[in-house]
């Protein structure tokens, strides 16, 4: 609907202005027929023509496309002006009756004069209007603070001059118009001085502008001439509409001055055009790189783009990028490392353009100080203007296919060199101070991009590990007993708190048969996901083998043998295992490298410590040889405490451990309480000892109280 409405508007404007022009046409004819002058007819005609052209202006505006390129606009103006100019020239050869001058007015000598007057008036009027709008656009394309005001000043003055003519006879002159004309010319000059849009054209566009400017200047001088004084066309247009003629003259003169200035200015800007183009391209490369910094996170893609852009930014023949990594070894990279690399750093060529790895190898390393060292020493860029003559590149003098100049730029982040960028050119002195500065700025951006990409990789890695950790934690929680066995003969209470992330503590229960309970407490060495895995394995072994190997030491020996197949060299599992006969209270105990079991009977407590290696240590034969077993006969009220070293080793920062003594004491003191009470007393004692700080290690407690 909107499209239709604007189309309608356009058609309306066009239509009405055409109608008005036609009316003007008729009026001029009527005027001629009158054979005299009639001021009101003349005035009516003037108003009609002014209105027509005003509407025509709006019509043009509605069609106007704001094309960006000033050079193209000039081209268009040139075409229009040429066509009109040539046409006018041709038409002027056609015979015309001309005009007579009487009392500073114009009398047409024939109807053909009237006709041509209309033609010239309309054509010149439209052309100049178009050219004025083009010039307006060019001025406004690189607008500054005064541009609009200046243009309006000119426009205002030109219109003022035009309107003033309505108060005079066509050929009258007055002081006012003279003054206004002078002011108008001043305004034209004012508008013709800020031609900064020329600077920003490419070299090619500047050349076009030069030619167009010159031609337009010439054509408009022609226009000035043919519309001045008593030239035939001048008289024709003057007859048609003095206001319009005044306006046309103003615009034509403005165009002349403006295009003339354009030509001169472009001429002066030509020598620097090429350098300017280069600067623009450098800036746009830097801009592209800035965008890269925020968009590309993949390391390989990034380094590839950096080397490609290096070629563009300084028009180099080849470029390559080395990255210095900490702790990221490949055998080749280790070989590369020179004297500046600490044991942990390796350097690797990660991207190359227009050069092979072998060539890079040959270029960068040398006996004595390699090129790389030059830059690492100084932490600044190094330029070699004449590779074939320079003493630093002696090793390259002999090579056939070598370039003639090169620049080496370090990528420095937080005072550390994280990489080196190399670029080469075939010509000598190929890199001037400017180039070095640009490529250094470029290298800085690249450094940021690379650091960014690394940080993101690390952060993603960390996130992944975190997720794994949470998963393992969850898994591990499920491995521990969800429910404690409820037996009338034996009270059982337990507590297990992992310190952070995934812990290594484990405890479990199983009924070997209806009269025997197995209680297992253990500690898997290490932390993290691997600890959780071994724990899972242990649970499996326990649940299946405990029933078969009923004696604790037998079970532990079997468990040791089973685990030996899967457990890695540096891991081990310590266990304490008690089997309670629920009929008699006889308890068999075996220990594999774990903390001793605490036995409190009445008010006396002792530690039960049968010998035994931890699982994962020693051969299975040696384990079997050295594993021991002890037997207790429980009496009513006796307490057994199985725990992990998280209990005895608990200590506040830089202070003493909780220790075996304190554990013994607290259980002796609370021996008459129920299992829950004893458990809580122990926890409380530990918390107190810790000054309410969180413990650093996993903590596991199993308290058994014989009630039979």
């Amino acid at each position: 609907m909107k499209g239709f409405r604007t189309k309608l508007k356009k058609m309306l404007l066009m239509g009405v202005s055409m109608v008005l022009l036609l009316a003007g046409f008729l009026l001029t004819f009527i005027q001629k027929s009158f054979e005299g002058e009639s001021t009101w007819l003349g005035l009516l005609r003037e108003i009609d023509i002014v209105a027509a052209f005003t509407l025509f202006y709006f019509f043009l505006e509605s069609l106007w496309k704001r094309e960006q390129n000033p050079a193209k606009k000039l081209g268009f103006a040139l075409v229009v002006a040429l066509v009109v100019g040539v046409a006018s020239a041709l038409i002027s050869f056609a015979p015309s009756s001309g005009f007579d001058i009487k009392n500073n007015g114009l009398i047409p000598l024939g109807f053909d004069s009237v006709f041509w007057a209309n033609v010239y008036g309309i054509v010149m009027g439209m052309t100049n209007l178009l050219v004025l709008m083009l010039i307006r656009d060019i001025i406004f394309s690189k607008r500054r603070k005064g541009s609009r005001r200046n243009f309006l000043i000119f426009l205002g003055l030109a219109l003022l001059n035009a309107m003033w003519t309505l108060t005079m006879r066509p050929l009258d002159s007055s002081i006012i118009t003279s003054i206004v004309t002078v002011l108008t010319i001043a305004a034209m000059l004012l508008n013709s001085f800020r031609l900064s849009w020329i600077v920003y054209l490419s070299k090619r566009e500047k050349l076009f502008t030069l030619v167009y400017g010159f031609l337009l200047f010439g054509i408009f001088i022609g226009f000035d001439v043919i519309t001045s004084g008593t030239m035939p066309i001048a008289k024709a247009v003057l007859f048609y509409s003095p206001a319009l003629k005044s306006f046309i003259s103003s615009v034509a003169l403005f165009a002349t001055i403006y295009f003339g200035m354009t030509f001169i200015s472009t001429l002066f800007h030509l020598p620097t055009a090429e350098a300017f183009d280069r600067k623009i391209s450098e800036v746009s490369s830097l801009h592209n790189l800035s965008r890269l910094v925020t968009q590309v996170f993949d390391f390989n893609e990034l380094v590839d783009s950096v080397t490609t852009m290096t070629l563009d930014v300084c028009e180099a023949r080849s470029a390559w990028l080395e990255i210095i990594r900490v702790n990221a070894p490949s055998a080749a990279a280790k070989l590369h490392a020179g004297k500046h690399m600490s044991g942990e750093e390796t350097i690797e060529t990660v991207a190359l353009k227009n050069i092979s790895r072998e060539d890079v190898e040959a270029i960068v390393t040398a006996d004595g100080q390699s090129l790389r060292e030059l830059v690492l020493d100084a932490k600044k860029s190094v330029v070699i203007d004449e590779v074939r003559k320079d003493r630093r590149t002696v090793h390259l003098h002999g090579l056939k296919n070598v370039f003639n100049s090169m620049v080496i730029v370090p990528l420095v982040s937080h005072e550390r060199v994280i990489g080196i960028l190399y670029a080469t050119k075939d010509i000598e002195f190929g890199f001037d101070q400017d180039d070095v500065e640009v490529i250094s700025a470029f290298a800085d951006q690249a450094t940021i991009a690379i650091e960014n990409s690394r940080l993101i990789e690390k952060s993603l890695e960390r996130e992944r590990l975190m997720k794994e950790m949470l998963l393992a934690q969850d898994m591990q929680r499920k491995l521990l007993p969800q429910v404690l066995p409820s037996l009338k003969e034996l009270e059982i209470e337990a507590l297990s708190t992992p310190a952070f992330e995934v812990g290594g503590d484990y405890y479990d229960f199983t009924m070997l048969d209806e009269h025997h309970l197995g209680v297992l407490v253990g500690d898997v060495s290490g932390k993290g996901v691997s600890a959780a895995f071994y724990m899972a394995e242990m649970k499996g072994i326990f649940q299946s083998l405990a029933r078969i190997y009923r004696s604790p030491k037998e079970f532990l020996s079997q468990a040791h043998a089973t685990l030996a197949a899967t457990i890695d060299k540096r891991s081990f599992i310590s266990l304490i295992y008690a089997v309670v006969d629920l009929r008699t209270g006889q308890t068999d105990i075996a220990r594999a490298g774990h903390c001793p079991l605490l036995y409190v009977s009445g008010t006396k407590g002792i530690y039960v410590k049968p010998q035994g290696l931890a699982l994962g240590m020693g051969s299975k034969e040696f384990f079997r040889e050295t594993i021991g077993e002890e037997r207790l006969h429980l009496r009513t009220g006796d307490v057994l405490v199985l725990y992990t070293d998280g209990v005895t080793e608990a200590h506040p920062k830089d202070q003493e451990e909780f220790g075996f003594e304190r554990l013994l004491k607290v259980v002796e003191a609370n021996g008459t309480k129920s299992a829950v009470g004893i458990r809580d007393a122990i926890i409380e004692a530990i918390a107190l000892h810790m000054n309410r700080e969180a413990p650093e290690d996993d903590l596991t407690l199993v308290v058994l109280r014989w009630n039979k």
Binding site: D523, G526, R570, G618
Partner: protein, 118 residues
């Protein structure tokens, strides 16, 4: 962060690692590096002097377990000396003394190395 440091020295063809401070999962990498260096240099007589070792975790213990086989295969050994009672207790619970020589002091340990040679 608790600190850990290792000094390496040599005496009578035995390489002595002086452990100082707290050995847990965070600080074991240092110990690993020391072992790796010695093994690369084919030094298989290693004495771990624990005089200034304040604590060792299961991760620390794991490091010794990781290298002992390799070292013993090359007719060397990892022995310990000068343990504090606290540290000795940790090793003792694990029954380490059954598998490793834990000497009272350095000279005793070195003597053990020499006697092996004979």
């Amino acid at each position: 962060m608790t600190s850990f440091k290792i000094d390496v020295r040599e005496s009578q063809n035995v390489n002595i690692l002086d452990l100082q401070g707290y050995l847990d999962a965070h600080t074991t990498p240092e110990l690993e590096k020391a072992f790796q260096t010695l093994i690369e240099k084919k030094q298989f007589n290693i004495l771990v002097n624990c005089k200034d070792l304040t604590y060792i975790s299961s991760a620390g213990v794991g490091v010794f377990m990781a290298y002992i086989e390799d070292v013993r295969e090359h007719n060397g050994d990892i022995k310990f000396s000068n343990m504090t009672s606290k540290v000795y207790n940790i090793f003792d619970l694990l029954e380490f003394p059954r598998i490793y020589d834990i000497a009272k002091d350095e000279s005793e340990a070195i003597a053990k190395f020499l006697s092996l040679k004979k």
